[in-house]
């Protein structure tokens, strides 16, 4: 079975993957290993449940993601790329179609300090203006 696997960075009822694959089942797993490792609070899980309640047809489970997907007979997954390693680790045995998250700004340089990044992207985002270099560490 092929599904759209939602993870906690894509809890949006208008997510692009839903129109790209309107017929695929939508699945979200509250990953018990992640909740424990990252010391998630009750409030955090409730906030995510609010988000999920807006997403039409999503099936919500709790457990270890790989185990839940295996039990559901999932062999292929479509999802959004994420630096969260537990997501890619859970999908190691699956066929995965990764989609990039929405891009905020185009930057292809080497990452150094923020102000270096900002000076490179500022013209795209707001145009150019002179401003003190600070992070409001007032």
């Amino acid at each position: 079975m092929r599904i759209i696997l939602l993870h906690d960075e894509m809890l949006n009822p208008e997510h692009a993957l839903f129109s790209l694959h309107p017929d695929l089942p939508r699945v979200f797993v509250f990953d018990t290993q992640q909740l424990t490792r990252d010391q998630f609070s009750l409030r955090r899980v409730q906030f995510m449940a609010d988000c999920l309640a807006e997403i039409e047809g999503v099936q919500v489970y709790q457990g270890q993601t790989a185990d839940v997907l295996a039990a559901l007979g999932v062999t292929a997954v479509v999802t959004q790329r994420t630096p969260q390693l537990h997501v890619s680790a859970a999908l190691a045995a699956m066929q995965v179609e990764w989609h990039d998250e929405p891009t905020f700004v185009d930057f292809r340089g080497k990452l150094k300090r923020f102000m270096h990044f900002w000076k490179a992207v500022e013209p795209q985002l707001v145009g150019v203006r002179d401003e003190p270099d600070s992070r409001d560490a007032a």
Partner: protein
């Protein structure tokens, strides 16, 4: 087959069902409604000019967008587009500048991977390695400003950015606690908890991802908190000094 969780449409019932489904998780219910609809409502209320003017004050016009951005309910691009709809680009500068910080943190995370949980750079001052102690975790330090921050964190899952910086500085530099130990615990309570924004901000305070340590003093707290804690405070204040004096006390001569 794994058991499917049913999420009631009514919010009060939904919160109760989650509480029942996760008996190992304790604490008060989430006071902030999640979801895109709630995020868009927040976004509609964002005033980029007021934000620019007052965001560093605890009662300032902060946006509350971070939980919604963190969970993908709204995108950074949507937030920027809103600001440009309501004011000219140059008046939205500060708001967009802060959105860019989030994009930057995320790029660093993608670049470094799990190494964001470790020192990114050599610390510029001596750092402590003590684990998070109970008096901090439970908001019993005796310092009203820090204990109130812990209470808000635990009760609401949200703390103003400036108070996050004060608290991180207190833990890392005044108490010499391990930034990692504190950052892990802090993130777990936040409804906007994000490994990149949280851990790299703690590292920025600690000086393992920045040119110098971030410290603050009482004058700063009084000014930006509206004097909400200091006026009636009877604690022996560790922050009541000039910056050069604090720097000498905390770091010796190395950082002066």
């Amino acid at each position: 087959m794994p058991e499917q969780l049913y999420l009631p449409a009514d919010r009060a019932s939904r919160l109760a069902s989650i509480r029942a489904a996760f008996p190992g998780l304790e604490g008060p219910d989430c006071p902030t409604p999640g979801g895109r609809a709630a995020g868009l409502l927040r976004l509609q209320r964002v005033d980029p000019v007021a934000y620019d003017r007052s965001r560093n004050f605890l009662d300032g016009a902060v946006t509350g967008l971070s939980p919604y951005v963190r969970h993908g309910c709204i995108t950074l691009g949507e937030a920027r587009a809103h600001s440009l709809r309501v004011v000219p680009a140059q008046r939205a500068w500060k708001f967009i500048f802060e959105l860019a910080w989030r994009d930057f943190w995320r790029r660093v995370w993608k670049s470094l991977g799990p190494a964001v949980r470790k020192d990114v750079e050599r610390p510029k001052v001596a750092l402590g390695q003590a684990p998070l102690p109970d008096d901090v975790r439970e908001g019993r330090t005796g310092l009203p400003c820090m204990d109130a921050t812990v209470r808000q964190l635990v009760d609401e899952g949200y703390v103003h950015n400036h108070a996050r910086m004060w608290f991180a500085s207190y833990c890392v530099h005044f108490r010499k606690l391990s930034w990692r130990s504190c950052a892990d615990w802090f993130m777990g309570h936040l409804i906007d908890g994000d490994l990149a924004s949280n851990h790299l901000s703690w590292q920025w305070v600690a000086s393992t991802f920045g040119a110098k340590p971030y410290i603050f003093n009482k004058e700063n707290v009084v000014k930006y908190s509206g004097n909400r804690w200091c006026a009636g405070c009877t604690a022996r204040c560790p922050f009541d000094d000039s910056y050069p004096a604090l720097s000498r006390r905390l770091f010796g001569e190395e950082a002066t």
